[in-house]
């Protein structure tokens, strides 16, 4: 299945604005982000240690924010859209 990923601000400069990743049917948001880090070589940006997503990043699936637990457990579907954010700083 194909999943699109978008990034903003600092993460856009690391991961690119938008890309499509081909993945297996059992993939989660964490699976996709892990694959993204492997291709870009910047795992420490999203993960603490080997496998835990940093709590200060935001992951959005089809317009809905995911908790770290949801990012690890929610199964994705073909055509899903993920967004990954660095911490916000507006206002």
């Amino acid at each position: 299945m194909k999943i699109t990923i978008r990034s903003f601000a600092r993460f856009r400069e690391i991961f690119g604005e938008e890309q499509t990743i081909e993945t297996t049917d059992d993939a989660t948001a964490k699976t996709i982000l892990s694959a993204l880090c492997e291709s870009k070589g910047c795992r420490e940006t999203l993960f603490a240690g080997d496998s835990t997503l940093h709590p200060h990043i935001t992951v959005i699936l089809n317009g809905r924010r995911l908790s770290v637990k949801e990012a690890e457990e929610t199964a994705l579907a073909d055509g899903d859209a993920l967004v990954v954010y660095p911490p916000v700083s507006g206002g």
Partner: protein, 130 residues
């Protein structure tokens, strides 16, 4: 009005448009680009999610503080020092609710609305805020 826009904001017109006869107070917050030795700040937003978040925050403030109107306009793009970044107008029956509602809105925006800023220095360097 809830908006994210590149264009400057006519604050006087916004105050007039949001006023009604129930209000005894309109509290206006204006955020501007401060000269910290920089030339400008570049703002980037995920407009879809940010607009939904601002709408949620406005509804929460209305409910929590009994506001009669809430306007939030945030700009994006490159804003030189002195430019307006953000205008919040909280219309209320009395000043207490107006100040409290306006304060609630700006603090919530700072917590989670997906808008980022990058300093652009006079030397042409740039750096995202953490």
């Amino acid at each position: 009005m809830i908006s994210i826009q590149k264009e400057d904001i006519d604050i006087g017109a916004l105050i007039q448009q949001s006023r009604d006869s129930r209000m005894g107070a309109q509290v206006v917050f204006v955020g501007t680009v401060r000269d910290d030795g920089i030339e400008a700040i570049e703002f980037e937003a995920d407009r879809t999610i940010a607009l939904a978040d601002l709408t949620t925050i406005a509804a929460e403030a209305t409910e929590k503080y009994g506001l009669f109107s809430v306007d939030i306009i945030h700009r994006d793009g490159i804003l030189p020092t002195g430019e307006t970044i953000l205008v919040i107008i909280a219309g209320a029956g009395h000043r207490e609710e107006g100040f409290a509602g306006c304060r609630y809105i700006i603090e919530e925006i700072k917590k989670y609305v997906p808008i980022w800023k990058k300093d652009i220095t006079t030397a042409g360097d740039s750096r995202w805020h953490d």
